[in-house]
């Protein structure tokens, strides 16, 4: 789970940058692109683009195919899938916590007969508007 969280963090961190977001968006719209073609609309150096691409590659948001000196970049859904699974796990996690909470609330109310707890709860009780 910790490992998964690291993966998801990598996806989030990669997408936190506007340039990297635009790269991913362009790739998902236009398919495969050469690194030089990708770099064109951005007014930044090729090495800077390469750094962005490495971040995206580590987050599994893009894949790279090497043809000699030419690198072809395309979008990869694995990173987004990680993020989605994480959201699902969050939901399942909350849900199982709430099951426990449900039981605890029942138990807490059964012990309401005890005067101390009862007083305490009555004091906290809100008045009806």
């Amino acid at each position: 789970m910790v490992n998964k969280q690291e993966k998801v963090s990598a996806v989030f961190a990669a997408l936190a940058d506007p340039t990297r977001r635009r790269i991913v968006q362009r790739l998902s719209q236009q398919g495969e692109r050469r690194v030089t073609a990708l770099a064109k609309p951005f007014r930044i150096s090729l090495p800077a683009i390469s750094r962005h691409l490495r971040v995206l590659e580590n987050a599994r948001l893009i894949t790279r195919q090497r043809h000699g000196r030419e690198h072809l970049i395309r979008s990869d859904t694995a990173g987004l899938e990680d993020a989605r699974k994480w959201i699902a796990q969050c939901a399942a996690g909350w849900e199982s916590g709430f099951d426990t909470l449900d039981q605890l609330l029942k138990t807490a109310q059964q012990s309401l007969g005890k005067p101390s707890l009862n007083n305490n709860l009555n004091n906290n009780k809100e008045k009806k508007p």
Partner: protein, 156 residues
Amino acid sequence: MKSEVKVGDNRLQITRVFDAPRHLVFAFWKEVDRLQQWWGCKDTSKVECAMDFRVGGFFTCVMQITGAGEFSYKGQYDEIVEPEKIAYHADFPGVTTRVVVEFIELHQGQGAQTKMILTQVGFPGQSICEMVSKGTSESFDKLDSLLAKQVVVNHV
């Protein structure tokens, strides 16, 4: 009783009705001894929390998760309206996840019921939101139904 789970573009909303008065449900978020009893997923064997329950205060929960080791979660309270609402955020690299928990009184007194709505937003902000809405919303629908099944299974 099971929760209603909605998975949106970049948000998760879980609604659940508890057969308990609102101040009691709230207390399970407010008091560290009570929070530790339910926080974490079903594989969590031990939870240790430290919390400063006030606006701007921090909380840290360290969970021992069977088969996965230690997992820690740190957040800061943004809003506390007792016993109606708690809002906090937790930072992960590159993203801030915000959680809002609302407590709504359905019935008071005998047979008291409280509706709790938990909304978690800011999974990777706009970015994923946009990409997910393009062409992958189908898998979200699938996920939604998977979750629904999972929730049912959990309660059988």
